[in-house]
């Protein structure tokens, strides 16, 4: 099981802040994971309709779409940040 967490409009579109999921073995990268999530229902498809704008973090560190998900405890998806 891998913990997935969502923030801001990604969270609002998916409709939950977090969930634990078993990732299929063919999901190797963050980009694979986003594509797979988008097939899980309308709310996910909506969240990832422009996958290039969604950012990701693995275990609280920013990662690129080609980052491997193997060994990840917590994977986060969120929009571009607007703090500061």
């Amino acid at each position: 099981m891998t913990k997935l967490v969502y923030f801001a409009w990604v969270r609002e579109r998916i409709g939950r802040p977090e969930e634990d999921l078993d990732l299929p073995t063919e999901v190797r990268t963050v980009a694979d994971l986003a594509r797979w999530l988008a097939t899980r229902g309308e709310e996910y498809a909506y969240a990832f309709e422009n996958p290039e704008v969604v950012r990701a973090a693995i275990d609280k560190k920013h990662v690129k779409p080609d980052a491997a998900v193997a060994g990840a405890r917590e994977i986060a998806f969120f929009p571009p940040m607007t703090g500061g």
Binding site: F7, A8, K60, H62, F78, P80, M81, T82, G83
Partner: protein
């Protein structure tokens, strides 16, 4: 000669006290010649905004800001660095973020302060949602490409 500098980083709902945060970096430190502070405040957007709601990624927000602060300490001869970022609902005029940089000389304090803010804007996991005076719960603030460009200025060759 000099003790290692540890940044003071806080992610919290409570407001900060500018004078107290400057005193934290200057009291008993007669080697400090320059202190730069940056305060980011909630604007009312021409009177249309009732509040900004700041969401953050607990844990990662602090870790990421600490990483950026430590990078600033590696790049410039600082005597102290403070970064405080608030979350929750903040009304127009309210404080959102504070960065304080202290150094013997002004150039390092200015550069490090600007660096911290540029990186914080693009790397710290915070998101702003607008609440409007007309009652509509507004949009999420869009990230600005200008902020990405500002952060990229600091990228090393």
């Amino acid at each position: 000669m000099t003790a290692p500098v540890t940044p003071f980083v806080a992610i919290r709902a409570e407001d900060f006290d500018l004078a107290a945060e400057v005193a934290r970096l200057t009291t008993g430190r007669p080697d400090v010649g320059a202190v730069v502070t940056f305060t980011g405040l909630c604007r009312d957007e021409g009177g249309t905004l009732s509040a900004l709601e700041l969401e953050h990624y607990p844990g990662m927000a602090e870790e990421e800001i600490r990483r950026v602060a430590e990078e600033a300490i590696r790049r410039w001869p600082l005597t102290g660095v403070t970064a405080i970022h608030r979350y929750g609902k903040i009304a127009p005029g309210g404080n959102i973020v504070l960065v304080v940089t202290a150094s013997a000389h002004r150039a390092a304090a200015f550069a490090a302060g600007e660096f911290l803010m540029d990186y914080l804007k693009t790397r710290a996991p915070f998101w702003k949602k607008e609440h409007r005076k007309d009652g509509t719960s507004g949009d999420w603030v869009d990230a600005k490409s200008a902020d990405d460009a500002a952060a990229e200025r600091w990228a090393k060759g």
